[in-house]
């Protein structure tokens, strides 16, 4: 039957374009046909970009697995796989409607649940758009798993994962991006600049991660009696590095794909994204080198991600030169932030709060500061308002959620389980049964 579909596909191409075969082409039919082909290109580009963004799920899974201990590796990958699986269903059922549904108030959407905007035979754009949006929602969700790694109850995590994809992320998303579809958000109406989501995706995830890490408390052995910070080295640095490379290529879908149109615009976004990532990695490495006297791998990997998060908001409205600066600042910031967060005894095993929360905020501010069109007090003000709102909403909502979960089903595994590893007790699995792993 592929044949049938193949032909069908041909016919579906903006009728006029191929109508040319049957009917005589006219100027009008040609004009329509050209638009049709551009539309097709927009579908192809948006969906290829969505596939790249999906791949970021693998990147997050590897970074988080590599930067934690072998005894929790199965648990980490299960949490990441579930973030995406649950997210794909929760965002389909609820999240998309809240984020992009018709929205009189500017505060949340009210229709389009269960992808009801799509009718067989109708315009399939909603499907392409949804596909691109669902991978963003899953990204916000998966950021949190790293900060809560190595001590969170699996069942509790599943609850959280559903709530953030269905509710926490979409609500803020509606405020900033709702107008991209049927919605209309109060924040975007003020002129908030966040092209691909430094705040909408990364800070929202990062601040929820902060709430999670605080409510959970640190891993056993992370802080000594006298409050000194102990090292709990990640078990597989090459895997973590592969994760960073995968995230980087994913960002080539994340930022330029946010045009959702295949146009020359994407070129500058590609370049900005790349330059910021490179500058972030370099700046973080040299900062770590200065402070620790060694070019530390973990910090350098965080630095690349920090640069990429930093440029996400402004990737379409700053120059490549500015992108370098934005990335470099993010690279310095992430190292200092990781150290600070450790000092205040918030245990974030992978640096999710610093990379996504802090550098997401920086990137959003920078999108105003380095705006090609110039930075006015109003622009900066709105950017700060957006940054602040994101913190209050995401940290607040997540904090309440985690407190509730803690009070009811419990958020954290038992000390025995934590010491023995979550893999054995939570999943009854072992990540590396053939290897001699230190107990």
């Amino acid at each position: 039957m592929k044949k049938f579909w193949f032909l069908a596909a041909l016919l579906l191409i903006p009728a006029v374009a191929y109508g040319a075969e049957e009917s005589v082409p006219t100027i009008a039919s040609n004009a329509a046909a050209v638009k049709g082909v551009q539309t097709n290109l927009n579908y192809v580009w948006t969906l290829v970009a969505a596939a790249l963004v999906f791949f970021m799920q693998a990147g997050f899974a590897l970074v988080e697995t590599g930067l934690t201990r072998a005894k929790n590796a199965v648990n980490i990958i299960m949490k990441n796989l579930m973030d995406f699986s649950i997210g794909s269903i929760a965002y389909w059922a609820v999240g998309f409607g809240i984020m992009f549904g018709v929205n009189a108030t500017g505060w949340f959407g009210t229709n389009g649940f269960f992808l009801s905007d799509f009718k067989v035979g109708g315009d399939p754009w909603v499907l392409a758009f949804w596909m691109f949006q669902v991978v963003f929602a899953a990204t916000a969700a998966t950021i949190v798993s790293g900060a809560m790694a190595e001590r969170t109850k699996f069942t509790a995590y599943l609850i959280y994962s559903a709530v953030i994809s269905a509710f926490v992320y979409p609500v803020f998303g509606c405020w900033a991006w709702g107008g991209l579809f049927h919605g209309n958000g109060w924040l975007e109406n003020l002129g908030f600049i966040d092209f691909a989501g430094s705040t909408v995706v990364h800070s929202i995830g990062g601040w929820a991660a902060l709430a999670g890490a605080i409510v959970l408390g640190p891993r056993i052995g992370k802080y000594g009696k006298n409050g000194e910070v102990k090292a709990i080295p990640g078990h597989n640095i090459p895997l973590a590095a592969l994760g960073v490379f995968i995230l980087w290529i994913g960002w080539f879908g994340f930022n330029p794909g946010s045009t959702t149109t295949g146009t020359p615009d994407i070129a500058m976004i590609f370049v900005n994204t790349n330059e910021a990532g490179a500058a972030g990695a370099l700046a973080a490495m040299f900062t770590a080198w200065l402070i620790f006297k060694k070019p530390d791998a973990g910090m350098t990997l965080n630095g690349a991600l920090a640069g990429l998060v930093g440029i996400t908001a402004g990737c379409a409205n700053v120059t490549p030169g500015s992108a370098l600066i934005i990335g470099a600042v993010a690279g310095v910031l992430v190292v200092l932030s990781v150290l600070f967060i450790d000092r205040i005894h918030v245990d974030d095993p992978v640096g999710a709060v610093s990379v996504h929360g802090v550098c997401g905020a920086w990137g959003t501010l920078a999108a105003g500061l380095f705006n090609i069109g110039g930075a006015t007090a109003k622009i900066i003000g709105v950017q700060l308002l957006g940054i602040g709102t994101a913190f209050v909403w995401s940290f607040g909502a997540a904090f309440i959620l985690f407190k509730l979960v803690k009070a009811t089903m419990g958020l954290r595994v038992s000390p025995e389980e934590e010491i023995g590893g979550l893999d054995a007790i939570e999943h009854g699995n072992t990540a590396y049964p053939d290897f001699q792993v230190h107990a």
Partner: protein
């Protein structure tokens, strides 16, 4: 001289090391072993097939010392590694006839 072999719970190793260090013990050798005893292992599942992991990770600490220190060391091991829970481990004492330090060729007690 005597050789003391202690089979302990791995997460107690650092405490033991510190305690022995305070006692003035100069050196020790540690190996990762799997123990089988009264403490029962746990069950895992793999693709539907259950299997019992009945060998439990333990640390084996070997300390060679002067005979007169044996009791002190045993005490130290007991106090620093005991949790009171099953699986705490064992201490074995064996006789050592000769000790040499490779670096210097010293023999006997000064080689320890």
């Amino acid at each position: 001289m005597k050789k003391i072999e202690a089979i302990i719970k791995p997460f107690k190793l650092d405490d033991l090391k510190a305690a022995l260090h305070d006692l003035g013990v100069q050196g020790m050798t540690v190996s990762e072993v799997k123990g089988f005893g009264r403490q029962k292992g746990h069950t895992e599942i793999y693709r539907g097939a259950e299997y019992v992991v009945d060998f439990i990770p333990k640390a084996k600490v070997e300390i060679v010392i002067q005979a007169d220190l044996v009791e002190k060391v045993i005490e130290t091991i007991m106090t620093s590694t005991r949790t009171g829970k099953i699986g705490d481990g064992k201490i074995f004492v064996l006789d050592v006839e000769t000790v040499c330090r490779i670096r210097t060729g010293e023999r006997g007690e000064e080689a320890i």
